[in-house]
């Protein structure tokens, strides 16, 4: 039987192989995350209209929207990704639905604070931590800064709870953390196969749990002196400390999204191609390497800070290059090899997976250029930077997350994918590519980023981007409609009688 003939619903998440309660919690993560993405995307569209000169937004509102769009999108895509990875491992690893739900409430509480701080409190400081920001904005009060700190605090806490739970669950299921990371297999260069190897998605869950714990801890550490400063206990916070920790927190959170959703490719693509993707030595080596490398590359955002030790700058450059190698060689080449001549039927989910691979490559290349010190000094404050992270967010992480949710529905729902959904997936690629391309072109032409008001000669790029954003919005609307109509049936299918592990 070829992959085209084999029913997708047979293998991915058959209800009798899943923990229904954990699966439902995971689905709630994905829906909450993707729902928030739509709202944040709408805010992004407003900003692009403003930059195109087609809508006038005051600078104060622009920065509020920019802050909410940026932090909201990072939190939302990560939430969808966390839901996806929990769903993927829940078919073989007992997870506590209660722990997942509580982490979700904590995380969403953080999101609520960020929304209140920006839309109600007027906070528009983004990630800026240099004095007098973020506490002493001209148009917002200290209370708004405190509310945004509280938001980041709860998001970090929610992430920490989730990652700690995943780490314990995976370690327990495999007998130890070393076994969950396939270390005996790894350090014997693939010769020692006495331990049962984790599936790639399980290995990736452990890797991201470790980095998630590190990122969340960095976020919590970063907030302590800021709270102390706000309450007058200390007069000033070391700017270099704050910048390093805020980026270790925020940049790693953004990175986690793409790496987690890459894990979903390992879980779902074999189902569509009909080919196994086992934990080989290169897979184990690549993902173990990602643990330290993902924590190093944030430093390429600090090249302009003369006080940053040179060693850290070099580490940022080396880390940024090095993290690309295992990702590219193992995951992207591996996925393409899996697809090649597999006879896979190109439904919406595989199309989005393929788009995700494409977006990850191009976003990664953009990031590599930005991580190159001489290029960075010219490009870092241009729209090149939003270009690269929008590429691996919109066409990478979000495409992967949407694809995985669609593949879950393929497995669990008794309603078939709509005829137009496939076209919507292609439209997503076209709209996304056009929208992002104009960011790259703007960056290449030195259009600055984080500017509320654009000069007339810059506006042409945003104007060209607007129709592509509309295409993207149209495709997302269709995909959302398809997901919404099939979700209820999948939700019911996830429910089976029994007891929680």
């Amino acid at each position: 039987m070829t992959a085209a003939e084999r029913p997708v619903s047979a293998a991915l998440l058959s209800p009798d192989r899943t923990n229904g309660a954990a699966l439902r919690a995971s689905m709630a993560y994905m829906i909450a995350g993707l729902g928030t993405v739509l709202l944040m995307g709408l805010l992004g569209f407003l900003m692009r209209l403003d930059q195109a000169g087609m809508l006038v937004i005051s600078p104060a509102w622009f920065y509020r929207i920019m802050t909410l769009h940026g932090s909201g999108m990072i939190a939302a895509v990560l939430l969808a990704a966390l839901g996806g990875i929990a769903a993927a491992v829940s078919s073989t690893t007992p997870l506590s639905a209660r722990a997942l739900w509580i982490a979700l409430v904590v995380y969403m509480t953080g999101n609520g604070f960020v929304i209140f701080a920006t839309l109600v409190g007027g906070f528009g400081g983004g990630w800026t931590v240099l004095y007098p920001l973020p506490e002493h904005g001209i148009v917002w009060s200290l209370q708004a800064a405190l509310a945004i700190y509280a938001g980041y605090f709860f998001v970090a806490l929610g992430l920490l709870l989730f990652c700690v739970h995943i780490l314990f669950a995976m370690s327990r299921a495999h007998g130890s953390l070393a076994k969950a990371l396939a270390w005996r297999f790894l350090f014997s260069l693939g010769r020692d196969k006495r331990d049962a190897l984790p599936r790639p998605v399980e290995l990736i869950a452990v890797v991201i749990a470790i980095d998630g714990i590190a990122a969340a801890t960095a976020g919590l550490i970063y907030l302590v002196p800021l709270f102390a400063q706000a309450s007058g206990v200390v007069t000033s916070v070391d700017a270099l400390f704050a910048k390093n920790f805020v980026l270790l927190f925020g940049h790693t959170m953004a990175n986690l999204s793409i790496y987690i959703t890459a894990g979903l490719v390992y879980a779902a693509l074999p189902v569509y191609t009909g080919r196994a993707w086992p934990t080989t030595w290169p897979v184990a080596a690549a993902w173990n390497l990602i643990i330290p490398l993902m924590l190093l590359n944030y430093s390429h955002h600090l090249y302009a800070d003369f006080a940053q030790p040179v060693g850290m700058q070099l580490l940022g450059e080396i880390g940024s290059y090095a993290v690309a190698l295992p990702s590219f060689i193992v995951t992207i080449v591996g996925a393409l090899a899996l697809i090649y001549r597999s006879g896979m039927r190109w439904t919406a989910a595989p199309i989005l997976f393929a788009l995700g691979l494409w977006g990850w490559v191009f976003g990664g290349l953009g990031a590599l250029l930005d991580a190159t010190i001489p290029v960075n000094q010219v490009m870092h404050n241009t729209l090149w930077v939003p270009a690269h992270f929008h590429t691996y967010f919109v066409l990478g992480a979000l495409a992967f997350a949407l694809a995985y949710l669609l593949s879950m529905l393929d497995s669990l729902s008794d309603i078939a994918e709509r005829r137009g959904t496939r076209a919507a997936a292609w439209l997503y690629g076209i709209g996304g590519a056009g929208f992002i391309l104009m960011f790259f072109v703007s960056g290449a032409n030195s259009v600055p980023r984080r500017f509320a008001v654009h000069l007339p000669e810059w506006q042409v790029y945003a104007r060209i981007a607007v129709p592509f954003v509309l295409l993207l919005a149209l495709s997302l609307a269709w995909l959302s409609w398809d997901l919404a109509t099939r979700f209820g049936s999948a939700w019911r299918a996830a429910r089976r009688p029994g007891v929680e592990p």
Binding site: D16, R17, T18, N19, G20, A21, A22, R24, A25, A28, S90, S91, T92, T93, P94, S96, A97, R98, W101, I102, L104, V105, V106, M108, T109, G112, F113, F116, A117, V120, G121, G122, S141, Q143, A144, L146, A147, A150, F154, A173, A196, R495, R496, P497, G498, V499, E500, P501
Partner: protein
Amino acid sequence: MIDLFVWEWEWQLPLFVALVAVEVGFFTLWARSTVRLRNARQSAAALALFTSGLVVVALAVMSPIGANDERLLSMHMLEHDLLMWFAAPLLVLGAIPLLADESWLPAPLRRAFVFLTRPVVAWTVSTLLLWVWHAPPAYGLALTNVAVHGVEHACYLVGYSIYWWPLIAAPSATGGLKSSAARVGYILAGATQSGLLAALLTFAGSVWYPHYSLVPGASVTTALADQRVAGALMLYPGAILFLVAAVLTIRAPAAESIATATR
């Protein structure tokens, strides 16, 4: 702002009598149902929790917190926090063993009880009461009229007792939320509406309740600073309380999960 705070207790005989009457009424019902409950520990806990709820009401209103509620909005807000987030859930925890099987209630009361404890109704009622009473005209009226002030507090207490019921009640009990997903949605809905009100109050650029700027020794500046503290007292403890509620009420959902993890 701190200068306006006066350390004094405010003895309120009508409230005290009302609380004693409620306690006596509850005790009577409790004594009758103790035989039915057949669980001495659960029965004693119910009485202790309900009584604690009434004690919190008394402390909120008659302690220096309540005694300063007409001078400082922050104290008034703290008073409301105690009523909505501590007294109300304690009263519900105490009342649940008696009301979980509501068949002994007279038919009209039973119908009202079943209707009010529906999650959508409970959320709507608590939200409406909270927002309507924070509208400046209603709030201003409560500050100038003792009886209206009492009604305002009773509304918070009753409204939030209704709100907490679906979360605290067992899934099998009347009004009890059946799944973890529903509980999470309900908690987030409750946290969002009260958080939004608190945020509006915290970040407001003008004084909502002019009464507090007219208190001897106060000014618009002190009233605005006090208002920000009041909003923060609702915003941050509220968030923590809803998280505690999540930890306590999201249960291991035995009925909605399976454990056939296979390798």
